[in-house]
Structure formats: structure tokens, C-alpha cells
């Protein structure tokens, strides 16, 4: 789950990271009030769950109240890469002498939290990684001991070229970021940039955090961090139904059991010249209710012209799955054709059951995909 900059900053502040004051506004009036409260100059920053908001004009430096009103007005409601800006953060604009990058993510290879830091802050770290990989220092953190003082300080001294005062601040920020990362069950946490003012005071002036959905059971506050406005209705419905769903741009609605098979099905649709409308993993059961939920979610997309079931019946027998699909489709009023491919234990019996319905049965995954594409055109 991605959260907004202002939310990430709240979490950072809770763990003791130096975050400048700031608050969000949903109207230009509120923005002006906040600017007056903090004193000018301020930054007006679009709160939107995507990168590149700066380039899109979503971050503005304002020296007057008129500026704030104008920019807040322009940014609120702005579309940035398909995301509509609903909130702006107002925060005092600091004098910046230096910018650093400090980030943390889960590293699959070391199976640890990986600290990454660079003196090239304020730009996209992926770009730095490409252009100047040696400028990024990395350290996989032993979870048994956490980020030790000397580990953080050694990295920080490299970043500041030996400036001990700045290095101590950066090292502390790294340790607090690690604490926030682990306690909040993050999968990504970034300060970009961590800046020093001309007076040598360090601040985390931008913040990014992705949280691990799997850890929601121990974070009751996750739910209120979720920005429902940022979520597509079908995705929300899928999440609430416990289904894994991603909307795409095509017209072949896919219902598959298993994430790997679901991706392979999408890939096969494309292989045969079609366009998948979604990724959807309905899991392992033959539960008609789950199938109904899945169908409803897919059918919220008016572009869907055909529905393709691709189910591998393993432990659950195919005839049971077929009965589940039949029961589900019969209980609904579906106007698009449905292709069903069931493979695995008792697949013959399953196909037999399908012949008595309007559902189009297919023997193989390839045949099913090809039939579905035919039905679209």
C-alpha cells in the first residue's frame, strides 16, 4: 500500500526524524491559511500516489499568499499520470545548502532491509543508479542488531566527505528511518531529499513510504492511511472481497486461479493478439460466492467483451469447480460470452457439465484464449 508524502512524514516524525512542519489542504483557502500560519515562503505540494509530480507542475515554491492561492487552485484537481490531486501539502520552504538521498527497501537477495544512501539527493534514485551507480552506498542490515552506530556513521561520513557534524545527523536519520521501516512494516521508505540548511540543520523534506499489506493485522492505523479516492472502484471492491485484481486496458476479462497462471493467461491473450482487461486471481476454491464477486468486479468495466475462466483443478476437482462456476453465472445476468477452460482432476466430467450450459468449454489454455479472442472480434 502506497501512502502520501504527508502521511509518510507523520510516521517519520513519530520515529524522531526531523521533518519540517506541514499540513494538508483540500482547498485553496485552506492552503492560504496554512501558508499564513507557517509564514512565507512555502511549498505547495500535490499529494498523489505517483512519481514525477514535480515535472507535472505539482510542486510549487510560493513567496506570496497570492502565489499560494493560485498554485493550490491549479494543483488541486490536476491530473498527474492518471491520478487526480485531492490534497496539497503546505510546508515552509527551507533554504537548502545540500541534498542527500536516504532510502530503505526489502532486499530479496540478502533477505534483509537494505539501506541505500547517496550524496546525489533530490533526483530519482533509479536515474542515479543508472548514471552513476558508485554514488549509491548500500548496506544490508542484520535484523538481529539493527543499524549499528558505526555502520550508519561510516556510511554518512562517506556521503558528507568527512564532515562529522552533518554525518552524525545523517547517521541518526538513517537509524530512525530503519526503526520506522521495521516498526511500520514498510516495504519501501525514502527520504529524498534529506537536506541541510546553510546553518547545517538537517531535514527530511520529502518522504515516501510503501507499507506491507500483509502486516495490516497488526497496524490498525493502516486502514485510515489508505486513500480510497486514489483507488479505482473495482480494485477497492476486489480488495474488500479478498481477491487479487489489477485493471488493465483490454477487453478480455480473465478469471484465473493462481497468480502465476493468471499472468501466464494474460500473456497468452497478448500472444494471440488479444488484450487482457485485467489480472484476477480467484484463488483455489470452487466457492460460487467468490466467483460471483469476481464476475461483478470484472463486469464493472464496460470494455470487457468476453470472460475467460482459466482454472487448474488440482485438489479441488474440476467438476466441483464447474458446478461452482455454473451456479455463479446462473445467479447473474451476464450479457457477454463466457469461455471456460478447466484442466486437472476430473476435467472430462467438468466439460460434460458445461455442455448443458451457455458457457463455452475449451480443452486447453491456448484453445480457450483463442476462442475468447474470436468472440471479441
Amino acid at each position: 500500500m502506497n501512502i502520501h508524502e504527508y502521511q509518510a512524514k507523520e510516521i517519520f516524525a513519530r520515529f524522531g526524524l526531523p521533518v519540517p512542519p506541514g499540513d494538508v489542504a483540500t482547498t485553496a483557502d485552506q492552503a492560504v491559511k496554512l501558508a499564513e500560519q507557517y509564514g512565507l515562503p512555502v511549498m505547495v505540494k500535490a499529494q498523489v500516489l505517483t512519481g514525477g509530480r514535480g515535472k507535472a507542475g505539482g510542486v510549487k515554491y510560493c513567496t506570496s499568499v497570492a502565489d499560494v492561492a493560485e498554485h493550490a487552485e491549479a494543483i488541486l484537481g490536476m491530473d498527474i499520470k492518471g491520478h487526480t490531486v485531492g490534497k496539497v501539502q503546505i510546508t515552509p520552504a527551507l533554504d537548502i545548502a545540500e541534498e542527500y538521498y536516504v532510502g530503505m527497501l526489502i532486499d530479496r537477495n540478502t533477505k534483509r532491509a537494505l539501506l541505500m544512501a547517496s550524496a546525489e539527493g533530490g533526483v530519482e534514485i533509479e536515474q542515479v543508479a543508472k548514471d552513476n551507480p558508485d554514488a549509491i552506498f548500500k548496506l544490508a542490515i542484520d535484523p538481529r542488531y539493527g543499524l549499528l552506530d558505526h555502520e550508519a556513521l561510516t556510511m554518512a561520513l562517506k556521503l558528507t566527505n568527512g564532515d562529522i557534524k552533518k554525518a552524525r545527523q545523517l547517521a541518526l536519520a538513517m537509524q530512525k528511518l530503519y526503526a520506522a521501516f521495521m516498526h511500520a512494516d514498510a516495504s519501501l521508505a525514502e527520504i529524498n531529499p534529506y537536506v541541510f540548511t546553510p546553518a547545517g540543520e538537517g531535514y527530511a523534506i520529502d518522504a515516501k513510504m510503501n507499507l506491507d499489506d500483509n502486516a495490516q493485522f497488526r497496524h490498525p492505523d493502516y486502514e485510515q492511511l489508505r486513500d480510497l479516492d486514489e483507488e479505482n472502484a473495482a480494485e477497492r471492491q476486489a480488495r474488500e472481497a479478498g481477491l487479487s485484481f489489477v485493471k488493465l486496458e483490454g477487453n478480455v476479462g480473465c478469471l484465473v486461479n493462481g497468480a502465476g497462471l493468471a499472468m501466464a493467461t494474460m500473456d497468452l491473450v497478448k500472444y494471440y493478439g488479444g488484450k487482457p482487461a485485467n489480472f484476477l486471481d480467484i484463488g483455489g476454491s470452487s466457492n460460487p460466492e467468490k466467483v460471483v464477486n469476481a464476475l461483478q468486479i470484472i463486469l464493472t468495466d464496460p470494455h470487457v467483451k468476453v470472460i475467460l475462466f482459466n482454472i487448474f483443478g488440482g485438489i479441488t476437482r474440476c467438476d466441483d469447480v464447474a458446478n461452482g462456476i455454473i451456479a455463479a453465472t446462473e445467479s447473474m445476468d451476464i450479457s457477454v460470452p463466457i469461455v471456460v477452460r478447466l484442466t486437472g482432476t476430473n476435467e472430462e466430467e467438468a466439460r460434460q457439465l458445461l455442455t448443458q450450459t451457455d458457457l463455452v468449454a475449451a480443452e486447453t489454455m491456448d484453445a480457450a484464449v483463442q476462442k475468447a479472442i474470436e468472440l471479441v472480434s
Binding site: K111, F217, M263
Partner: protein, 291 residues
């Protein structure tokens, strides 16, 4: 001989009285007689399926039955705890089926396992099946057959899809392993491939990868340098949009890396044929496999 298991494998099932645990313990029992114990705290003294004793703790299960392996069906909030318990009790192979385990829990448990020399498969995986020997997890036994192809995959049903096609080519499996689709997992592609390469029964390998991370690239590099048996790969997720998690917590293209295209390129560069469609996997294998 398969990998990670042998005829001395004695299995405990943690969470044996839960819905999934009891269902799959029954399936495992039906496949072979390797299940020797169940564990559910508070249910010690009871019996599962009229023959498997249930214990309050793994320590008791290991102490009284000699279990050396465990399959975990404990809910996410208790899954890491079950792994610690199993490792502490002295088992050497842990298969964690549980889906939805927080990644930080897995990060923390890893050194505990390393210190004790314990192998973990999963979490969020279908487990391991060694046809004719034993079944650890939820893979459908009905579709497998003993043979000489090793299969390793990040996903479940996609693997079954491939397994399903092997009999038509007269092939069976030495072992079929689902390593799981989470970002932090115990046994990786690399670990599995090393084990398969060392297994005399395994004469060919199928690796089924997907988007996210670079485990496939690392495996490719290893295979090119160290593996002599034929290997065919498949990568799912060519059409996956960046930044979106495709079901598995680990199946996500982020920061422009972990794409299917990159993986296919790395595999091809290492001389490993990559099937375009699942149904091409077996033919590609037959092309390069001089039996």
C-alpha cells in the same frame, strides 16, 4: 532420491486442526505415511485422522515422534512464530504454506534459521512433492508421476499446468517444488537448482519464473556456469504493468527492474531456452534433452 526429502523424512503438520491444515494433512496422509505428528497448542493428547498424535508444541512432537520436517498451515499472524518453534525444536526442513506473512517477520526469522542450519521452503508456497516418496504441502498428488524432470516455480497452478503436460511426453518428475511468490523466501531458485543439479534422479530441469526481483537472473548465471543438465525456463508476467502487485507480494515490477523482458534476456544470454507459451515448455525441453 528427489531433493530435500528422502525415505527418512518424518513430517509434523503445524496447525493440523485448522481448516486448511486438516484438509491438507489428510491429503498428505493419503499420499504417503510420512506424517507422524500434528501440532496445535491446547489440543495436545488428541489424535488426527485416528492415527496421527497431536501435540501442544513442536518440541513435544519432535521429542516423541522423531519428526524432522514440518509443514506449516498456521494463520499469518502466527506463521513466523511457528517457524521459530519448528527450528528451535530441531527440525531441519520447514515448509510454510501460509499466505500473507508480513515480510518483516520473514526478514527477522532468516538468521534464526541460518544459525540452526534449517532449510525453509516458502512462505506462501505450494510446497514440495517428490512423486512416490512424499508430499509436503498442497500440490495435487493426482497429477504428478515419478520421473526425471525437476520442476521449480514461484507459482502453484502454473506449475501444475506444466506438470500436467509431462505425461503426454512420457515424462515424470523427480520433484516438483513451489518456492513461493513472496519477496523474502527461504529456498530460492538458486538453492533449488543447486539441489536438483546434485540429485542423480534429476536429468532435466524446468524453471518457472515471474516478474519481480532478479532471482531468475541469478539462477541463469549459476546454471550457465555450473549446471550440465538441460534446463528450460518460462517467465510469467510479460503483460504486467509496472508498479502493480500481481497477486504474489513479490510479483511486481518496481523502479523499472524485475521485468519479464529482462529475465528472458538474461536467461537467453545464459543459453537457457525460454518457452513463449506454457505449452512450449515440454517441446523445448525435448529439443535440447539428449536422453
Amino acid at each position: 532420491m528427489a531433493i530435500f526429502v528422502d525415505k527418512n523424512t518424518k513430517v509434523a503438520v503445524q496447525g493440523i486442526t485448522g481448516r486448511d491444515g486438516s484438509f491438507h494433512a489428510q491429503q498428505m496422509l493419503e499420499y504417503s505415511d510420512t506424517v507422524v505428528a500434528g501440532v496445535t497448542p491446547g489440543r495436545g493428547g488428541q489424535t488426527f485422522a485416528d492415527k496421527v498424535p497431536i501435540f501442544d508444541s513442536m518440541a513435544e512432537a519432535v521429542g516423541q515422534t522423531g519428526a524432522n520436517t514440518t509443514v506449516i498451515f498456521v494463520p499469518p499472524f502466527g506463521a513466523a512464530g511457528a517457524i521459530y518453534e519448528a527450528a528451535d525444536a530441531g527440525v531441519k526442513l520447514i515448509v510454510c504454506i501460509t499466505e500473507g506473512v508480513p515480510t518483516v517477520d520473514m526478514v527477522k526469522v532468516m538468521p534464526y534459521l541460518a544459525e540452526r542450519g534449517v532449510r525453509l521452503i516458502g512462505p506462501n508456497c505450494p510446497g514440495l512433492i517428490a512423486p512416490g516418496l512424499c508430499k509436503l504441502g498442497i500440490m495435487p498428488a493426482s497429477i504428478v508421476a515419478e520421473g526425471n524432470v525437476g520442476l521449480v516455480s514461484r507459482s502453484g497452478t502454473l506449475t501444475y499446468e506444466v506438470v500436467w503436460q509431462l505425461p503426454s511426453a512420457g515424462l515424470g518428475q523427480s520433484a516438483c517444488l513451489g518456492i513461493g511468490g513472496d519477496p523474502v523466501i527461504g529456498t530460492t531458485f538458486l538453492d533449488s537448482i543447486k539441489a536438483f543439479a546434485a540429485d542423480p534422479q534429476t536429468e532435466a530441469l524446468v524453471m518457472i519464473g515471474e516478474i519481480g526481483g532478479d532471482a531468475e537472473e541469478r539462477a541463469a548465471e549459476y546454471i550457465q556456469e555450473h549446471v550440465d543438465i538441460p534446463v528450460v525456463a518460462f517467465i510469467a508476467g510479460q503483460t504486467a504493468p509496472p508498479g502493480k502487485r500481481m497477486g504474489h507480494a513479490g510479483a511486481i515490477v518496481s523502479g523499472g527492474s524485475g521485468t519479464a523482458a529482462e529475465k528472458v534476456k538474461a536467461l537467453a544470454a545464459a543459453g537457457i531456452p525460454v518457452a513463449e507459451r506454457p505449452k512450449d515448455i515440454v517441446p523445448r525441453l525435448q529439443e535440447i534433452w539428449q536422453r
